[in-house]
Chain length 137, copies 4
Amino acid sequence: MGNITTVKVRYKETDQMGVVYYGNYFTWFEVGRNEFFRKLKSSYEELEVENILLPVIKTGCEYLVPAKFDDEICIDTQLVKLKGVRIELRYKIYREKDNTLLAKGFTEHVFVDKNLKPINFRKKHKDIWNELQGMIE
Amino acid sequence: MGNITTVKVRYKETDQMGVVYYGNYFTWFEVGRNEFFRKLKSSYEELEVENILLPVIKTGCEYLVPAKFDDEICIDTQLVKLKGVRIELRYKIYREKDNTLLAKGFTEHVFVDKNLKPINFRKKHKDIWNELQGMIE
Amino acid sequence: MGNITTVKVRYKETDQMGVVYYGNYFTWFEVGRNEFFRKLKSSYEELEVENILLPVIKTGCEYLVPAKFDDEICIDTQLVKLKGVRIELRYKIYREKDNTLLAKGFTEHVFVDKNLKPINFRKKHKDIWNELQGMIE
Amino acid sequence: MGNITTVKVRYKETDQMGVVYYGNYFTWFEVGRNEFFRKLKSSYEELEVENILLPVIKTGCEYLVPAKFDDEICIDTQLVKLKGVRIELRYKIYREKDNTLLAKGFTEHVFVDKNLKPINFRKKHKDIWNELQGMIE
């Protein structure tokens, strides 16, 4: 059980196939990821003040059942790996009304500073690192 | 006759009505606008080096005929007003194959620096100002 | 006082100016609009079953203060005009934490069937029409 | 050597990190994919008339160097697998001016009809199948 965020499918997110465009699931992953970090107990603002960023270096998604306009969507975000300068999260996308799994995916990130240079996150932000460590599933 | 740029409608840009989503025309306006500025004879790089930005303060669009997937689209960009810290451009969106007018719109901008503070563009960038002045239609 | 919907600014919605891209406000208008129609007492499903669509024929937006990543946004949707085959809505976009008005805009729509042919909505869907009529501000 | 399509990075496609948002690379894959199919010698219109669609069932992307606003981008699309009801394409995203590889990815698709039911493409569209077969790399 990770961290659940809900969104409602927007008309904008559909395409002429009548379902959500495949590239838009990555926006939902991002929404889930941000909520995940927002809910940390340690000072996340500390990261923002220092302009720590988490660019994606690898991502992927499998599509099982298409999401449709107006569907309530649950984004289940899990931390699965954390080492050195890297972090990996996994996502499951559910349709809320019947709990159907629609898609699943992952993102791998590297911790960088505002100049997009990798930083040793473990060393620089020990409190957050430790909290994250305890959340790995 | 303004400045013509062409784009091809992407699947991503359609919605489940089978036509281009209304909000995506503003991206085409932006594409036309950037090409418009790129083609200036005076040093546009000068603006970039100094981080001059042109945030939109007002925009609008009228939709006449829906654009569809794979349509070749012509964006006709015209400069219509230039004064003090402001500039206004107009756009016409045509379907290339039969020259049908699909939509028309405008954007009003203010010249700002990288801190989003308005600047007196006329004074600071006289050459570009003069060139723009000669292009008003 | 219209109908309030809230959204949180997504990273995807920002651009390199560090604020929400101007074209993305139209997606928020759409979100507000759909919630507005969802909350009607008369059977909105009736419209969906019959594939009544509301393509936008005109829109506009004024930008006052830029929305930023992670801002909680309130979309205030009001019905302002309803006649024959047309309907007009107005939107106000507020930042929730300090109630600052960020932008305001409108959309004009025409009622069409699934073949995008205009329909006389007043005649065909009297109940919904009457309810909408009572909501004009 | 696959099939090359070029696009120019739009302001819309950037995010506040100052680079192209990770989810937008999938739109470029789609652009490359459509051009790939457009260039087939056999009648692609035949597919459209019969409403053959190619929904994505799996995708992934690795990001090497960030694409930036106004970059000219080359999308290199290759067909790598074709069997039964499935097809897989690979994409390489280059920055045109210095031929730097920015990202690489893939999409797996299933051939379906307009009701999103899988179809035996090999059997139903032998000509196109054969042409595709000869293009596998």
